[in-house]
């Protein structure tokens, strides 16, 4: 099943950057500013980066102990059959669930700002259909798609930052660390959980054509994401100030709305949304792929393609009935999402890694003994 499709380290790097920034850029300034006020950029730059680095290092060192296999395949070996399969099931649920949250978020976003009269089901369905067709075509296609989309994302991102530069007032960022380190830490919780999505490397590691570079690639991705999100937060805070930023839902979009050039280039947020749609398609496809792959491996299927549509159904239904309104989603993301995300992104991999080290399962990183595939 795996082993046929390989992506390069640079493709993986770009995938991770799109994976996190595609959605995070839109609302990160707001969620960090709610707690950390004008120090929101510190949350983005320091604490969430540290957390994501921890995730990256733990997940890759866990994965590198078992070359050529995914977390679904090696967790039974570490924890024993029952607990290991349970952990695998947990991951499948986690992937499906976060994907449904992203789809829902995306749908809510579009119904709010773009096409208010269109039912959310339409957005969910089209997004998942696109995702399904990408997933059926495989990881390589998703990676290539991203190589096409990523420059557009980066370009539109930089365009907005450059065009609002004249409205920025960096005094809005002062005073630094007014309330001490506490609020900054609090402000980075939710963001950290989003950035911990790089834990997908647990499933993607066998698909890298140079798995030795996995740690470096993931760390690079985390740092790049940190820089992009920090610039984003700084720009938003500098333009709007902490008060206005914290009450907005999608501050970056309002930033785009703010642009007015020669009375002609106005309201370019529609174009921004469009390019962001492309990013979200990549993001959803990637997590969707990982979910399908995980499910197929959990059931010991030879091919993941038969489970693509059922998984898509689950994601779609979960995203529609999971939350009764968009306020509930916001609450979920603020309150439940951080501990929920931490447990799968950091705690469970740590437990697996410790257990593997204690029980001496899997090769060390240097030895990389290739074990027989069947166990």
């Amino acid at each position: 099943m795996q082993g046929q499709e390989k992506i390069s380290s640079s493709q993986c790097l770009l995938l991770f950057i799109t994976l996190v920034t595609a959605t995070a850029v839109l609302f990160v300034p707001a969620i960090t500013a709610q707690e950390a006020r004008q120090d929101g950029w510190l949350s983005a730059l320091v604490f969430s980066t540290l957390f994501a680095l921890l995730v990256a290092v733990i997940c890759t060192s866990l994965g590198l102990r078992f070359p050529g296999r995914t977390v679904i395949q090696y967790s039974p070996e570490i924890l024993g059959r029952f607990l290991g399969k349970l952990a695998g099931l947990g991951y499948i649920f986690f992937f499906i669930h976060i994907n449904s949250i992203i789809v829902r978020e995306f749908g809510d976003f579009l119904t709010t700002v773009f096409l208010p009269d269109t039912p959310i089901d339409i957005f969910v369905a089209t997004l998942l259909l696109l995702g399904a067709s990408a997933v059926r075509n495989g990881l390589e296609v998703i990676a290539r798609m991203n190589q096409f989309v990523f420059p557009l994302l980066l370009f539109s991102y930089m365009l907005i930052i450059v065009l609002v530069a004249r409205d920025m007032d960096l005094h809005n960022l002062l005073p630094v660390l007014e309330g001490g380190i506490g609020p900054v830490l609090k402000g980075s919780f939710s963001l950290s959980a989003f950035r911990g999505e790089v834990c997908l490397i647990l499933m993607l590691l066998p698909s890298l054509n140079n798995s030795k570079e996995a740690t470096l690639t993931t760390v690079k991705a985390v740092i790049w994401i940190g820089i992009l999100l920090t610039v984003d937060t700084v720009a938003t805070l500098a333009v709007f100030g902490p008060d206005i930023t914290s009450v907005q839902v999608f501050p970056f979009l309002n930033l785009a709305r703010y642009i007015s050039l020669g009375n002609f280039v106005e309201r370019i947020e529609s174009l921004v949304i469009l390019i962001w749609v492309a990013g979200v398609v990549v993001k959803v496809s990637l997590i969707y792929y990982v979910a399908a792959l995980a499910a197929a491996q959990w059931f010991n299927l030879r091919e993941y393609r038969p489970v693509v549509l059922p998984i898509g159904m689950l994601i779609g239904v979960l995203s529609i009935i999971g939350f009764s309104n968009s306020r509930e989603l916001v609450e979920f993301i603020a309150k439940i999402w951080p501990p929920y995300g931490f447990s799968f992104e950091l705690i469970l991999p740590t437990v697996l890694l410790l257990a593997a080290m204690l029980r001496k399962k899997g090769g060390t990183r240097d030895a990389q003994k290739t074990r027989p595939a069947s166990d």
Partner: protein
């Protein structure tokens, strides 16, 4: 109901997969009958086969040797050069035979003597099989039967009326060679050979089509083209089992990677210079007899935006032209959809004065923008199609009807808004800047589903369509090469010939995925300028330790 339907479906599928019964013609082709030593037997058999073929000529004569030998020349009138038949076959055999054979005994080696001493023709083949000689006769070679010989001679005297080399009509250039392929395979191969003078240029011949027996040539430069691709092309061509190949389009459809895709995965071109530049980059060309279109594979999507002229004009101009073409591609794909989306869903995106003028123009129009756009675009397609099909003499009528009736009168009558006419004309014109005909038609066709999505979901619909398109393009491959390369997978080095074309002195390498065998194109010394006359030697990055020309490369052996 559902299982029954399923059963029906599977039985239908099974029926379609069932091998067809071997037919008479197929059996006839597999017959292998040797030529008999008796001339009369052979002739009567041939006359049987060529019954009612009034274009076949049986010329019976006697060899002018000391000991007369009866002979018969069989050929098809019009497929052979009469001059060659008369001067080099009949005259040599009948009048001059005695001079050159003299006292030689002819009993044992008649065939060899005739071949070596009498026939003054370049290429003379021999065969012992009747079916084979029939095929040769049908291809235009005369068959020479001698009494007492179980072997027939086939002197090459092919020659028939064909169109001369003329300017290719579907790909015109301002600057560049004006010769185009013709219907004659040999002429086409010559056009390539005249441009590449190396023994590495190969033409592998094969015959495809049960009845048409069309000659197909695989052309490639050994050492530059990837052998795996050549092998794949060869295999795919050999797998073809159809009764006829009338145009290279048949071959194209029979060997492409994704038969259900709307995108062309093989480039068809009328220009020999284009084929040659493809060969030099490592592509494989397929030339088909009776077709003025050569095929090039593997191909990538950006290549459909490259015109032959891009390589002859100065490179700064090319940058501009490629940019223009890229913008036109987007216009022809998206402009009507964007117009629909903006006027229907996203009016806020337009500056107010522009919005007002569009709204004022649309005021009297009775249709929603989607219907208006679909109708107008469809009308344009009709005009275009009519323009191609109409006899030249009535071509004027189309332009009058198009410009006056549909353009002007429709606006005056208030059926469509002037803005829509502008949108449609701009779209139409833009689509013709795409140098490849198939490519531009594909883009124009794709416009319609995107328009429908734009009419239902606005910009989001356009984006959904584009993403679906992107997913499809990313999954396509042409003979193993990703269709969107060098964009995705990204190859920075190959961007030198995608949106820009670097000057020729900086074109150091061939495309990474196509020309893998011999990546280096030239050395770093070609850059012109005063004082640069002397040759600098600098190792190329692709040869390890030493100059590229220092000796034969190992993999060339």
């Amino acid at each position: 109901m559902y299982p029954r339907l399923w059963k029906k479906f599977t039985s239908l599928a099974r029926y379609m997969k069932k091998p067809l019964e071997t037919q008479e013609i197929r059996k006839e082709n597999e017959v292998e009958q040797p030529i008999s030593p008796n001339l009369d037997n052979n002739i009567s058999m041939l006359k049987d086969l060529f019954q009612n073929c009034s274009d076949v000529v049986f010329r019976e004569f006697t060899l002018g040797t000391r000991k007369p030998v009866r002979a018969t020349l069989v050929y098809i009138d019009g497929l052979c050069e009469a001059d060659k038949i008369n001067q080099h076959i009949l005259k040599s055999l009948m009048l001059e035979a005695d001079l050159s054979t003299g006292n030689l005994s002819l009993d044992k080696s008649l065939i060899q003597t005739v071949r070596k001493r009498l026939l003054t023709i370049g290429d003379v083949k021999t065969t012992k099989m009747l079916q084979k000689i029939v095929t040769y006769i049908l291809s235009g070679d005369p068959g020479l039967f001698l009494d007492g010989c179980a072997t027939a001679l086939i002197p090459n005297a092919r020659g028939w009326e064909s169109r001369g080399v003329s300017e290719p009509e579907s790909e015109t250039v301002v600057r560049g060679p004006r010769d185009g392929f013709t219907e004659n395979l040999r002429t086409n191969a010559t056009l390539l050979r005249r441009r590449i003078k190396t023994t590495r240029l190969k033409f592998e011949a094969m015959e495809i089509g049960l009845l048409t027996k069309t000659v197909v040539n695989i052309a490639y430069i050994q050492g530059i083209a990837n052998e795996k691709v050549v092998e794949e092309v060869r295999n795919r061509l050999q797998r073809i089992d159809v009764d006829s190949i009338l145009e290279s389009g048949y071959i194209e459809e029979l060997i492409e990677d994704s038969p259900f895709s709307i995108f062309p995965q093989i480039n068809a071109t009328e220009r020999p210079d284009r084929v040659v530049s493809g060969l030099l980059e490592g592509q494989v060309a397929i030339l088909v007899d009776n077709t003025p279109f050569g095929l090039l594979a593997p191909v990538t999507f950006p290549q459909f935006l490259q015109a032959a002229e891009d390589y002859y004009l100065r490179y700064p101009l090319v940058l501009f032209m490629r940019l223009l073409r890229f913008v036109s591609l987007n216009i022809s794909l998206l402009l009507p959809s964007v117009y629909i989306a903006v006027t229907t869903y996203h009016q806020e995106m337009l500056p107010t004065p522009l919005l007002i003028s569009i709204a004022a123009a649309r005021e009297g129009v009775p249709f929603p923008a989607l219907v208006e756009a679909l109708a107008m675009e469809f009308t344009f397609e009709i005009l275009k199609e009519a323009g191609v099909r109409l006899p030249r003499q009535v071509g004027q009528a189309v332009s009058i009807v198009g410009a006056l009736v549909i353009g002007d009168a429709a606006v005056t009558a208030g059926l469509v808004s002037p803005a829509m006419v502008i949108v449609v004309s701009l779209t139409a014109i833009s689509s013709f800047t795409i140098p490849n005909y198939t490519g531009s038609t594909t883009i124009r066709l794709l416009r319609f589903p995107i328009m429908l999505l734009a009419g239902t979901l606005g910009f989001y619909g356009i984006m959904v369509a584009l993403m679906a398109l992107l997913i499809h393009l990313c999954s396509l491959r042409s003979f193993g090469v990703p269709y969107l390369s060098p964009l995705a997978p990204l190859s920075l080095r190959d961007l030198k010939d995608t949106f820009i074309r670097v000057p020729w002195w900086a074109m150091f390498t061939r495309p990474r995925l196509i020309g893998t065998r011999e990546p280096a194109r030239q050395d770093y010394i070609s850059r012109p300028g005063p004082g640069r006359g002397k040759t600098r030697t600098k190792p190329t990055p692709y040869s390890e330790g030493g100059h590229r020309n220092a000796g034969p490369r190992e993999d060339f052996q």
